[in-house]
């Protein structure tokens, strides 16, 4: 066999190998999603004795419409969307401004303040839950947008992430901007934020996902069902009768759609953001 042929063969084998591995990984990731769909469209009493089927049994695709109408999923999703949007915008604003201050400004107690902020990352949300809920109640913010959003408008993680990113901006750019006559605001808006866009995008996405999926906090500060967020509605559905258990699964699938759309739309930015640290440029 000629050397060239052997090389071609080697390459073919390698390519085949990587595609096999990727296919396998795709199956591992997609299988649960598929099983969810199967479970949603198959009426529970059909398979309840036989265990989870691999393919739909007596498929009833109307289940999604049923799930939508049986609960107030639409309202809950709108509420969650609003909550997630407010939290994301708020967190971006506070993280960008605080990150900028810690990266570029000099002020008394800067280090100590930063350490204090970082230290809050060590406390799990559960630890502060009771105290925070009491505060919200005293403010009269139970069952309200402020109650759902305000405590999440600033996080140590966001501030830390952006401070680190901003510190990575070459100091000469700050000098150049000073000479170009940029004040802090203009430097922030025209240089710092555009340069850090991948990281800011990642932070936005992480925050949005976190807010959309959060359960504990909304559960703690809402009493009125009309203030139920998506996750609370899903939880309610799962505790209803066994023979309509597939409704909850269908609702869960519906609730994932906005996230899916978000991921698809921002796919390129997300990949760039996640690999921003790894691959320069």
């Amino acid at each position: 066999m000629a050397v060239g042929d052997r090389r071609v063969l080697g390459r073919t084998l390698r390519t085949t190998g990587s595609y096999l591995l990727l296919s396998l990984l795709s199956v591992v990731i997609l299988l649960p999603v598929w099983l969810m769909i199967v479970r949603a469209v198959s009426p529970p009493f059909v398979y309840i004795d036989r265990g989870q089927p691999w393919f739909p049994v007596e498929a009833d695709w109307g289940v999604f419409a049923d799930a939508w109408s049986a609960s107030d999923l639409g309202r809950a999703m709108a509420l969650s969307l609003a909550v997630a949007a407010i939290i994301t915008v708020g967190q971006l604003l506070t993280s960008i401004m605080a990150g900028y201050a810690f990266a570029f400004l000099d002020f008394p107690l800067k280090r100590i303040l930063f350490v204090v902020i970082l230290a809050t990352m060590l406390l799990p949300a559960e630890v502060t839950l009771v105290a925070n809920v009491r505060t919200i109640r005293e403010l009269g913010w139970l069952d309200s947008l402020p109650g759902l959003t305000v405590p999440s408008l600033a996080t140590a993680f966001g501030i830390f992430l952006l401070r680190q990113t901003f510190l990575g901006i070459p100091p000469e750019l700050r000098d150049a901007a000073l000479l170009d006559g940029f004040g802090h605001y203009r430097f922030l808006r025209r240089v710092v934020v555009p340069i850090s866009r991948p990281t800011i995008g990642s932070l936005a996405l992480i925050t949005m996902l976190g807010a959309w999926g959060s359960y504990l906090w909304p559960r703690a500060v809402t009493t009125d069902p009309s203030w139920n967020t998506v996750q609370l509605v899903l939880r309610q559905l799962t505790t209803q009768e066994v023979d309509s258990a597939n409704l909850a699964v269908a609702a869960a699938i519906i609730s994932a759609v906005p996230i899916l759309v978000l991921l698809l739309v921002f796919q390129r930015q997300i990949i760039r953001g996640l690999s921003a640290g790894a691959v320069k440029g």
Binding site: L173, A177, D180, R190, P194, R197
Partner: protein, 348 residues
């Protein structure tokens, strides 16, 4: 004009009572080894660092407490400091925006200024590109365009040529001098490269360890240095420093030296090989052995061991030199030798 300018970082004295007068329309070069404080001087002039003491005057105004943007100076950074996310045109436009010029004259006027600056530096084709898509030389020109778009009183340049390859650097030196003439501007240029200083400057200031050693026209500093540091920093290969005590009094033929002389500086181009039997005439002679020769094509550097040190002589390319290891006599005119005292100060 700088008066008694001092900068301390903690205990570290970076610039020590520096006083300098830079004239209008001068190409002034601050020359010194890395870490000598020259960049700090530039940054203080720009307003990026505040002096610990001393005053900086631009024109008739003391600018110590003025923001960089109110000083009417532009700076070209060693790394160019281009905004990576902006196009070439936006980079050049940035100083016009920051100045907060009246909005009414606005867009069209700015676009015209950007075009003019780009034209001067031959960047017309590249206006839509981002810095990442430019070569080093192109980036450097964008940095220059960004500096001159505002037509400032004073240009500060921090080793702007050091990131270019050797060939491009030589060409850019000439381009910069052309640009300086064309703009009719004052340039303060920082470098550690004595060739840049010699070729471009109208005057140079030699600095070391935060202290100013000498100010003058490049050839004056080269021919008539005030101290050993200025003498050794200019010239390649550097000046030969000889201990007077090492020289044999009977053979050196130096004649009387100024009192206090402990060291002599002799430039390599002032040394030539002398054959044993030729009359020495009024030359002072150094006897040693050949260590090696470095042929550069247009000239040869002969390295000879004289006493405990190496002495370099610069000779025409085709002169015969003795083989390594053989004895050699190098002669120089006593009037070409520069005399220094124990502290390195010039004795005349």
């Amino acid at each position: 004009m700088l008066d008694g300018l001092t900068k301390r970082f903690g205990d570290l004295q970076v610039v020590d009572h520096l006083s300098l007068e830079i004239h209008d329309r001068e190409f002034f070069v601050l020359l010194g080894p890395s870490g000598c404080g020259k960049t700090t001087v530039l940054r203080m002039m720009a307003g990026l660092d505040a002096p610990t003491s001393g005053t900086i005057t631009l024109g008739d105004t003391v600018v110590n407490h003025l923001d960089p943007r109110r000083r009417d100076v532009a700076m070209v950074f060693q790394s160019y400091a281009l905004y990576p996310h902006m196009t070439v045109a936006e980079n050049i436009e940035a100083p016009l925006l920051g100045r907060g010029g009246s909005r009414r004259e606005g867009r069209a006027a700015r676009a015209r200024q950007v075009r003019e600056a780009a034209e001067i530096l031959g960047l017309g084709e590249l206006l839509g590109r981002k810095p990442a898509a430019l070569s080093g030389g192109q980036r450097q020109r964008v940095a220059l365009a960004r500096a001159l778009v505002r037509r400032p009183q004073l240009f500060l340049m921090d080793e702007p040529l050091s990131n270019l390859d050797a060939k491009l650097r030589t060409r850019t030196r000439l381009d910069l001098v052309d640009l300086w003439r064309q703009l009719d501007a004052t340039i303060v240029f920082v470098t550690h490269d004595q060739v840049e200083a010699m070729t471009m400057a109208t005057r140079i200031a030699v600095m070391a360890d935060g202290i100013l050693h000498q100010v003058g026209a490049p050839t004056d500093v080269y021919d008539d240095p005030d101290d050993l540091f200025a003498a050794t920093f200019l010239g390649s290969p550097p000046i030969n420093v000889l201990e007077v005590a090492d020289l044999e009094p009977s053979t050196n033929g130096l004649g009387p030296l100024p009192t206090g002389t402990t060291q002599l500086g002799v430039r390599p181009e002032h040394l030539r090989t002398v054959s044993e039997d030729a009359p020495a005439g009024e030359l002072a002679l150094l006897r040693g052995t050949v260590r090696g020769r470095e042929a550069l094509g247009h000239e040869v550097h002969v390295v000879a061991r004289v006493g405990a040190r190496d002495v370099v002589a610069r000779q025409p390319a085709h002169d015969a030199t003795p083989a390594p290891g053989s004895p050699i006599i190098l002669g120089f005119h006593p009037s070409d030798a520069l005399a220094f005292d124990r502290d390195g100060a010039r004795v005349r």
